[in-house]
Symmetry: C2
Subunit: 587 residues, 2 copies
């Protein structure tokens, strides 16, 4: 069973959880909710019909590396061309250079769809989007004039060249060098690894955004500059850079992960983006949306795994469910299978809600809310990235489990989703780094008022549940209140540790805290959707999807959210393991 974009559920979340209508009202795009829905439906058709069928093909074929060139799997070139011709690459980008200028919220939904259909395919425009953002924010007009339009259309693609063998999470250790030429360009020399789509046959040119160090630059991250280094130079010659190999990876086989060599013949030509030694700031510009996009990859692949598992559970017949009139039941009739399916569905919906809230904050940062919304986006981004990708690992693994022995056989496709998903918690900042970012940089934002406001918003949802009183919510109201209590106390504990300059009390709890935040925020998102559904039912609507939303909010609150209390305990009283010499971990 192939992925179908769940457009109705996505649209409901956009409107009733993330406030799409208000975003559209403040957006320059001048479209209404109906136009937005039409765009989503068209994107859904493209994702389901064009991109999704290439997912298994890409996994089986991988990419072919030969003598510096990379050939993608059969069908990929024409699908990517159709993607470009459909205008899908430019959904978010500003209209000045040909973008559609739609809100982050719409772009987020599209990103989820491309990646639900095919993570390896979705990665290519995801990388290009990062390049567009960095160039648009920091590039000179000349550079923008030369590159932005073709990147926005997708005729050319972009890459991020950060990692080197000795410099993964720690960019201060970079060694790639840049030297100025007399004409204002730079000569780039060095080796990069793990460059996604560093070389491929989908586009005529590839714009490498390369972090490098100028001679005499300050040590550490304050001495890093960002350069645009194109595969093909403006005069049509090949630049002095090449792909020296591709990795054999656990998943996303169709996405080439390249080692890149710059300057074998004296130096690749590049142009500075932004100021010298300010490359990291340029990178940070695009980090919020790049990390959000990886979170959306998690949502997409989790949704794909849920659909596949549900389809299988409806077909596969084994054993007789208690009370069933049939001698053999479809396995979907067994309580344990239902628990797994609902866990998959609930986590996916929760992560979707968190990601869309984050996109909404990015949009609102350009509106009247301004800085408060920007700070909210900063707060939510590590949660959107890490929670969504952590649950993507869990959900895709449950998908394998529901398939039983068939899940372990590659032919079924369930295992591919698990393999593909495994990178999401690692790249674009490991999830451990997201947790540290959340605790040490994001909680203290605006003196703690950003996180305080977010928790207050969750409390309003819990109050809404109490007020609504629909019996279908079960124990959702008290469970959400308990979860918020845990989050609140854990937040205070961490803020106090940071204020007392005791990071050693805060860092051990960073990962449990991010999970706690995601659980409670996710429960609040599902409750918000459930409340909208309840209101619709009270107003006489009869769509059965509305009752399902209430039931899903209840399932999450009663079965998954209760983990909050244990996480709180770990954060508040579990951190003494750090640097305990008894463990002799350092050897």
């Amino acid at each position: 069973m192939s992925y179908r974009a769940p457009v109705e559920e996505m649209a409901f979340t956009l409107r009733h959880v993330a406030g799409l209508d208000a975003v559209l009202a403040h957006s320059g795009a001048e479209i209404g909710p109906d136009d937005a829905l039409a765009i989503l439906e068209e994107a859904g058709r493209f994702a389901s019909n064009v991109i999704a069928p290439l997912n298994r093909i890409g996994d089986r074929h991988g990419t072919l590396f030969s003598d510096g060139t990379v050939t993608t799997a059969p069908g990929w070139v024409s699908a990517y061309r159709a993607f470009v011709e459909g205008g899908w690459n430019g959904v978010l980008a500003a209209p000045d250079y040909g973008g559609q200028g739609l809100p982050h919220l719409i772009a987020a939904a599209c990103t989820e769809m491309w990646n639900g259909a095919n993570l390896a395919f979705g990665l290519c425009p995801l990388l290009t989007a990062g390049g567009i953002e960095a160039l648009a924010a920091h590039g000179s007009d000349d550079l923008k004039g030369r590159y932005l339009e073709k990147l926005i259309s997708g005729e050319w693609t972009a890459t991020m060249n950060l990692t080197e063998p000795q410099a993964g999470s720690d960019l201060s250790a970079l060694r790639t060098r840049a030297e100025p030429n007399s004409d204002g360009s730079y000569r780039i020399t060095g080796a990069k690894i793990y460059i996604t789509y560093g070389e491929h046959d989908l586009a005529d040119n590839i714009c490498h955004l390369v972090l490098a160090r100028l001679k005499d630059a300050p040590a550490g991250t304050r001495g890093i500059s960002l350069f645009l280094v194109p595969k093909v130079l403006p005069d049509g010659r090949r630049n002095d850079l090449r792909c020296s190999g591709i990795e054999h990876k656990l998943g996303i086989h169709a996405s080439p992960t390249c080692s890149m060599a710059f300057g074998d013949a004296g130096g690749a030509t590049g142009w500075l983006i932004g100021e010298e030694n300010r490359g990291l700031a340029c990178m940070f510009t695009m980090m919020n949306s790049a990390r959000l996009n990886v979170g959306l990859q998690g949502v997409g692949v989790a949704e794909a795994a849920y659909q596949k598992a549900l389809g299988y559970a409806r077909e596969r017949r084994q054993g007789r469910a208690p009370g069933s009139p049939e001698p053999v039941s479809a396995i979907v009739a067994h309580a344990d299978i239902q628990r797994m399916l609902l866990t998959m569905k609930a986590y996916t919906a929760a992560a979707r809600g968190i990601c869309y809230l984050t996109a909404q904050a990015l949009d609102a940062a350009h509106g009247p809310e301004g800085k408060a919304a920007h700070d909210r986006a900063s707060l939510l981004t590590p949660v959107a990235k890490a929670f969504s990708t952590d649950i993507a690992n869990e959900v895709t693994s449950l998908g394998v489990q529901i398939h039983g022995g068939m899940g372990f056989v590659e032919e079924t496709g369930a295992a591919q989703l698990m393999r593909d998903a495994r990178i999401l918690g690692i790249y674009e900042g490991t999830n451990g780094i997201q947790a540290i970012d959340l605790v040490t940089r994001k909680l203290p934002l605006a003196g703690g008022t950003t996180v305080g406001a977010q928790i207050a918003a969750m409390r309003r949802v819990a109050e809404g549940l109490l007020k609504d009183g629909a019996p279908g919510f079960g124990l959702a109201a008290p469970r959400l209140r308990e979860g918020i209590g845990s989050l609140d106390r854990a937040t205070s504990f961490l803020l106090k540790a940071l204020a007392s300059n005791r990071p050693q009390d805060a860092l051990p709890g960073a990962t449990p805290y991010l999970r706690l935040f995601g659980l409670v925020q996710g429960a609040a998102c599902l409750a918000t959707a459930g409340l909208a559904a309840s209101a619709a039912l009270k107003a006489g609507e009869t769509d059965p999807a509305q009752a399902a939303r209430i039931a899903l909010a209840r399932f999450f609150a009663e079965n998954l959210l209760p983990a909050a209390g244990g996480l709180e305990q770990a954060i508040l009283t579990g951190g003494d393991f750090a640097d305990d010499p008894a463990f002799a971990l350092a050897g």
Copy 2:
């Protein structure tokens, strides 16, 4: 970094958690603790030096299927021969047919080592052990005389032929047929799938244990019989059976997973094991130890992942840890990496403790304790199987995470462990089925007194912590007491639901209950080890490993065990999702 058998830690757990000395005292094997340790050390050398180096080779080469034959990876034939010549295949089997007759406890430790070194290799003797057990318990003297000695030596191997395309977890749907011949043998016809080591080049003969249905047999599982169907007949001719293909799998590439065709030329010749239509009872005989062995596979691969991740974390340098004098620290100095490593180590040690306790109960069932120990083994077996393999998935995934981007590249080997581990929660009864077995069949054992006694034993450990009072235990005592309270209340709830004939209240909580049981039992095991360590320190011992055991018990109790409360909530108040029509899961 390749696996090294952690013999010292295993021996400590065997003696101080699982009571090896008492087992040896009641065993017929007439060896003492020192002899046992010598055996373990020898096994550890064999696992580390002979089996482990083949793990990556096996993953890369897989097995080669051609025209009905299967060729294993380079080096596997000679390693298996060395395994047989070393007498390792017969550790557990009774001496009548050449076995060493050692206790389950010793065999369990050996099984952990073979599988820690190489899951795909360890599977072959694991399957043979199941065949030996079924044949020894139910085979006629004639059949035993013909097959048992060569199976025990390992010159011949055995398989379990259960699954058919329409019959996975649900064996009542089997279609393979058996018809009696005039000479007392049977003609077997049918097709089986997912037959591990169904064909290979490691041994001269393969004894297939095949579940099949006699003509006119009662419907369902009461009409299934078990047959021994050898690849090579006693007169040297090939039997009418063949391997018709092998699967392309997520992991354990070096272990051939075969489709088997029986009776293409009229019928394969087989011999009945046990009585007609009693095949399932014969299968159940060996299920306790087979499931325990799969649990031990989980412990082994988790240990391997921990060792690999620890080795990497000590080498890899990224970022500066707070308070570090060095500009760049080994990543093991970062709190979040420590949290992951200790989570891996603690889960692995907890699962090891549970598995060894289970093996101890199997041994004690033959001693003065008798039926109570047998029931305890039955109770603990699904926990040993499912908890150990669930944590194996989590631990191997954490192993990938610690490697960062390198973890996603197959060359590193971390990803292989995760891929290999993924089957453990599926085969030999999915973990969902283990949970249902635990709740519906094992909790009611002996009127609930079996589980009651087990919880009482955990309470004694918690009291021991209070009495010991070593500050290194931190909050272990109260956390363990809280966890036991959750387990106790959840157990009462489930027993009451079953006694009221309301399985619909019990089944939705089965999986959370198994996790809860494993967490609390695992914490009790680590606390037991910690108490023994504390006593040793008080007696003047200075081995730093003792302090590490106390610290690990604390880490588990403070950071992982607190999940117990949320699981209790899910079990007691979360089950209303089952068959809720709002979800429309059935379509």
